[in-house]
């Protein structure tokens, strides 16, 4: 990587920020040079998003100063920060589902004449920017709600890139992107760099960081551990600083003792997204599912779980000869199938309620007697899972909405672990989760498999799947393109399978 050419454009000194019960940031120093990519890494809840939202004017620090081009910088709201040339793509999706893609991208400056929107200009400009991030095949006129999470994230990125800025903050932009889109994003980042834009880049995918960043700052527990040029660091150095200990980076599982077929799906079809999908998972086995964005992975899993009604297809459980009828998630759960959904905020959590309430939701029967809640028991259950998964919260009474993204994800997982199903489907379980926690989650998946559960993991990160899965199923344009065993797969084979159905059309 080319090192930064010009001087420091932004500097934050001695930033403190605390939330009730949490010191999110303490005495943080951070600086950014023009035309550099400065990566920020750290565990979940380390304070990355908090720091960024302070820079972008979304939150105010308790104390500390910020300087922009040697000028005192105290943004008063996000609009003010943007007026100063600082833009941020936030970790959580903040799109307006009923507006079109183009309108979302240019929301704060819709091209208009006397207040009347010039749609030709708008859509034209949107199309240009969408092509750059790899959304070229989406109509800018389509409402965002019809897009998948991955595509929505790209719209967010497109919105971030849509206007000229001097500093661009990307908070986990790649969490639900696949390799193809990540490449496109990197191309854009390099272009901006060349134009002298300073970029702050947050990601839990350390390889990415080493590829794109010029410098890396590691945060731990709200404190800056170090800031170094990327060239001086290896992946394991970074992880060591983040987690404070070394993680073995080898294969998690060695051969499986796959048992009885736990779930067999035959000819599942739903509209154009899921076409004649058949597969099976055995007890004690971990099946990975990969595919390009929009390849139908999420839709398939939702259909299995009964979240959406399939048009046709049969589901057999635990080697039974008769298919089970799953008309809604309740039927699936009663039959021992769990689904950790992709979109935790909308579909997984009761954000306004306490951690305790979220964890016990799936099995209230066991923390109550004759319909009467046993709150003490509920709390002890919640505490057990908080400890087991290392969820960072001030107490089990804390509102889930206040937790960091990764910790929210852990709460969703805790909820399903408590339910104790036999078939567990995880849709992007590590989205927005730090390496340490990711590692823990994969350990946990392995453990679940050891215990004889059947596990399905949908992920956009092929490498992590290759580390943990026994078999990998590749989906392409709604069909199963191929399934590979542990000894058969390779990155290339998987990618070409993922593209197979698109090439034909």
């Amino acid at each position: 990587m080319k090192s930064a050419t010009s001087g420091t454009v932004f500097r934050a000194c001695d930033i403190d920020k605390s939330f009730p019960g949490v010191q999110a940031l303490s005495a943080v120093d951070f600086d950014l040079r023009a035309g550099e990519v400065h990566a920020l890494v750290g565990e979940n809840g380390a304070g990355k998003s908090t720091l960024m939202s302070i820079i972008a004017g979304v939150q105010k620090p308790d104390s500390g100063q910020m300087c922009l081009y040697e000028q005192q910088y105290e943004p008063n709201g996000r609009a003010d920060a943007e007026a100063h040339g600082i833009r941020m793509v936030m970790q959580e999706l903040h799109l307006i589902s009923n507006l079109s893609v183009a309108e979302n991208i240019f929301i704060e400056k819709l091209p208009n004449r006397f207040g009347i929107i010039d749609y030709d200009k708008l859509n034209g400009a949107a199309r240009k920017i969408m092509k750059q991030v790899g959304l070229g095949d989406v109509d800018p006129d389509v409402p965002v709600r019809l897009l998948g999470v991955g595509q929505q994230q790209m719209v967010e990125i497109a919105a971030g890139l849509s206007r000229r800025c001097r500093i661009l903050v990307l908070d986990e932009p790649t969490a639900s992107l696949t390799d193809r889109e990540i490449e496109l994003l990197f191309t854009q980042i390099r272009k901006l760099k060349a134009e002298g834009v300073g970029i702050i880049y947050i990601s839990h995918r350390i390889e990415e960081v080493t590829r794109i960043a010029d410098r890396v700052t590691v945060l731990r527990d709200g404190k800056v551990i170090s800031t170094n040029p990327t060239s001086e660091l290896s992946v394991s150095d970074i992880i060591l600083m983040m987690v404070g200990r070394d993680l073995e980076h080898e294969q998690l599982r060695h051969g499986s003792k796959a048992g009885q077929v736990a779930l067999r799906v035959v000819g599942l079809t739903r509209g154009r997204k899921v076409r004649d999908v058949s597969f099976e998972v055995r007890r004690g086995e971990i099946l990975g599912v990969v595919g390009l964005m929009g390849s139908g992975r999420t839709e398939t899993m939702r259909a299995v779980f009964g979240a959406d009604r399939p048009d046709s297809g049969k589901i057999f459980l635990y080697g039974a000869g008769e298919p089970v009828e799953i008309r809604m998630p309740r039927d699936a759960v009663r039959n021992g199938i769990a689904l950790v959904t992709e979109d935790r905020k909308e579909q997984g959590l009761l954000s306004a309620l306490a951690v305790r309430v979220n964890i016990s939701l799936t099995r209230l029967r066991d923390v109550s007697r004759f319909g009467w809640m046993d709150i003490a028991e509920e709390q002890s259950v919640a505490d057990r899972y908080i400890a087991a998964l290392g969820i960072r919260c001030s107490s089990n009474e804390q509102t889930v909405g206040e937790l960091s993204g990764g910790n929210q994800q852990k709460v969703v997982i805790a909820k399903w672990l408590y339910r104790d199903c036999d078939v567990l489907i995880f849709d992007e379980p590590t989205r927005g989760i730090d390496v340490g926690a990711k590692f823990e989650i994969y350990h946990m998946l392995a453990e679940l498999a050891e215990k004889g559960k059947a596990v399905i993991v949908v992920s956009s990160d092929t490498k992590e799947l290759m580390a943990v899965c026994d078999r990998i199923m590749v989906m392409s344009a709604g069909r199963v393109a191929a399934t590979f065993g542990r000894n058969e797969w390779s990155q290339e084979k998987i990618m070409s399978a993922a593209f197979s159905e698109y090439v034909g059309v």
Partner: protein, 335 residues
């Protein structure tokens, strides 16, 4: 500095005090104002009058609280009360049913209307607002049909209900208070109540947690219909007659009471006891204004202002609660 100390000391109060303190203060304020401006306000009779008037609306407000908590709304309560009351009157006067049988008929009507609301809302996933608006018209039409638009005078046979009293409190008042207490316990201590709060917070997440929200939502509308028909019995008994125009505008009154009590119209948050306070505030206001002989225009102006003032107050109460919670949380988090 001073401010901090105050904040701290407020924060030290148990939660239930701050939960209700705003309401209680508002109520006290009204009492003081009327006590000073009306001659015989601070008398036992005033309080007996209020105790006599609130049971039906209180019971409806409990049902409404549940409905609002699941982010629903029920605009049909007034009409359903009229219809249920009409059936009660008809059963007693025309068919000469014994009182218990007539009450069963009346309750059945409430349950049916609630079930109809619930089924349509759940089956087609329609907004409760519009479905219950339809039921508002339908039940009112039914009440006219049943009574032939006449007030049915019942007299003695229903008056036993209001005449019964325990320890000086009338039976309806005791029933209402019992329903409030039971409602609050169901909401905060049972699995059912927990599910309702969860549904009001994020229905889709509940559904994807393997819980079918539909029977629960249906149950809430049935419950609301059922409570409305209990209110109908009490209302009819108090007036000794069944009036097809009864409960006109009751829905907005009940919603106002519940919202004054701090229950969110967005669902997921609410308290039955607070709704009861809301009912009391509105009742005291009505009685007080009538006692000082206020003009209709004054009555309306003041009622409107009190409604708005109450929710503004609630806004600040929430702030206090929040800071209190934060202090609590950090206190716990320290060790």
């Amino acid at each position: 500095m001073r401010k901090k100390i105050i904040k701290k000391s407020i924060a030290d109060l148990p939660a239930f005090v701050t939960d209700y303190i705003g309401m209680a203060l508002a109520l006290a304020l009204l009492l003081v104002i009327f006590g000073l401006s009306a001659r015989n306000f601070f008398t036992l009779t005033t309080f007996r009058t209020i105790a006599n008037q609130v049971p039906d609306i209180t019971i409806v407000a409990v049902g409404m609280t549940f409905v609002l908590i699941i982010a629903g709304i029920d605009l049909s309560v007034g009409s359903v009360m009229a219809l249920a009351g009409a059936v009660l009157g008809l059963s007693l006067v025309e068919f000469n049913f014994p009182l218990p049988a007539a009450i069963v008929m009346c309750l059945a009507v409430g349950i049916l209307c609630g079930a109809a609301n619930g089924l349509v809302i759940v089956r087609w996933r329609l907004p409760a607002f519009i479905v219950t608006l339809g039921m508002l018209e339908i039940a009112r039409g039914g009440a006219y049909l049943v009574t032939e638009s006449r007030t049915i005078y019942i007299g003695g046979p229903v008056e036993v209900i209001t005449d019964a009293s325990i320890l000086g409190f009338s039976l309806p008042f005791i029933v209402a208070v019992a329903i409030v207490v039971a409602g609050q316990l169901v909401l905060s201590r049972t699995v059912f109540g927990r599910y309702l709060i969860a549904i009001g917070t994020n229905e889709e997440a509940v559904r994807l947690s393997g819980i079918d929200p539909r029977p629960l939502k249906l149950a809430v509308f049935v419950l609301c219909g059922f409570l409305t028909s209990i209110a109908a019995v009490i209302h009819t008994a108090r007036l000794s007659s069944a009036n097809p125009n009864a409960g006109y505008g009751l829905e907005l009154q009940a919603i106002a009471a519940v919202v004054i009590g701090g229950t969110s119209l967005m669902g997921g948050r609410g308290s039955v006891v607070s709704s009861f306070f809301g009912v009391l505030i509105i009742a005291v206001l009505g009685t007080g204004l009538a006692q000082i002989g206020a003009q209709e225009s004054t009555k309306r102006l003041i009622t409107g202002c009190v409604i708005v003032a109450a929710v503004i107050l609630d806004h600040y109460r929430h702030r206090i609660r929040k800071s209190q919670k934060q202090v609590l949380v950090s206190a716990k988090a320290k060790p």
